[in-house]
Amino acid sequence: MSTTLRFSDVRRRFGRLAVLNGVSGAVEPGGMLLVTGPNGSGKSTLLRCLSGLLAPDSGTIEYREDDGRLDVAERRRRVGVVAPDLAFYEELTVRENVEFFARLRRTSSQRGFAVLERLGLPLDRLAGALSSGMRQRLRWAWALLHSPRLLLLDEPFQNFDRAGEDGARMLLAEHLENGGLAVVASPSPLDFDHVSEHLELGV
């Protein structure tokens, strides 16, 4: 299972503000790229470019699965994303949200429910009635729903209590041990065992 992510000289500006100024990096199977930097240094922007939600002004992003290069549209659907601005349907229950996205991703909801059981989240509560920590658990379940090989995590432990954070760390460790890739953005370097590369933005 050879999955790789490579990006070079990625640039992105918003109006006059150059947020990303030629950023490069690479991740190999089982590897984790940790992206740090102060607020506004472009961490979220980089992750959004990597996930395909944002088009960079210039530079290349290459994502390969099993030696086949995926274009942006395919990459978008293949990655697993946790981000603070990820929201779900408030009028639907947790279960209904998971089932809906499972049908969209053409997969079963088993994995999603399994993750939710590990992290602890009642399935029949309305998504609108969740606390912020519980929303974060739902985000993790959503990200892992289709068993992606690449995880793009923007502030992945935000709002988590101790139990939630421990559970999520274990999920991330398992993902990497199974040969998955991860890019994690965090304002401060967290203690991680598996960091293979460290990218500091805003310096």
Partner: protein, 222 residues
């Protein structure tokens, strides 16, 4: 070279004006005030140039979506703006002609309605551009709308002839002259058409360069 071409265009248009007033015979059947028929040499090519703007914008929009080069997006927007200008001119000259011929500025005949619908579309396109700040998103959405417009507007040419009420049983005003025109009139008309088309692309080119410079200046100011 560009200056030479510009002077050539100027000369051509002078010839067109002279031809329209002195060379082309006045005889156009079916008109109550034959002298006013000379307006056809200007009014019709203006309308043609307006449609050229539509098609040019669509072509540049496709180019933008394929290549994502901002220059194509700018070209498309400029084409629409100039097409709008020509469209307004065509509408106004058409209304003037209608007033002289039929006594009414506006009578909803198919051509008047069509050009009005095209103008509305141009206005909507420009409104859309105004409402999106991020350049990449603006270009993308505008290009999509331009192409949607190109798909939908031809239906007007099928649809509009059907809405002529029985108020004006006479044949359509604007399309006259095509069948009954003799050689001299045809020459002047198509000569003028060519001239106005060249005028469109010349102004388009100028405006594109102007906007590019304005953008560079704004970027340097930061």
């Amino acid at each position: 070279m560009k200056t030479f071409l510009a002077w050539l265009l100027w000369l051509w248009m002078c010839l067109v004006i002279v031809g329209a007033f002195f060379y082309a015979p006045v005889v156009l059947q079916g008109f109550r005030t034959p002298g006013s028929s000379r307006i056809v040499f200007f009014h019709v090519p203006m309308a043609w140039s307006s449609f050229i703007g539509f098609i040019a914008a669509a072509v540049w929009s496709i180019l933008y979506l394929v290549r994502r080069n901002p220059r194509h997006d700018r070209a498309a927007a400029v084409a629409i703006k100039i097409g709008l200008l020509f469209g307004i001119l065509a509408t106004v000259t058409g209304a003037m002609w209608a007033r002289i011929e039929w006594g009414a500025w506006w009578n909803w005949d198919p051509r008047q309605t069509s050009i009005l619908a095209v103008i509305l579309f141009y206005g909507a396109y420009l409104a859309l551009r105004q409402s999106v700040e991020e350049p990449e998103k603006r270009a993308r959405l505008a290009a999509a709308y331009a192409l949607l417009g190109l798909v939908v507007t031809p239906f007007l040419f099928w649809v509009v002839p059907r809405i002529t009420f029985s108020l004006h049983p006479d044949p359509v005003v604007n399309r006259s002259g095509k069948v009954d025109m003799d050689a001299a009139n045809t020459q002047v008309l198509f000569g003028s058409g060519f001239g106005f088309a060249a005028l469109f692309f010349w102004v388009q080119n100028l405006q594109c360069r102007l906007e590019a410079l304005a953008e560079r200046r704004a970027a340097l100011k930061e």
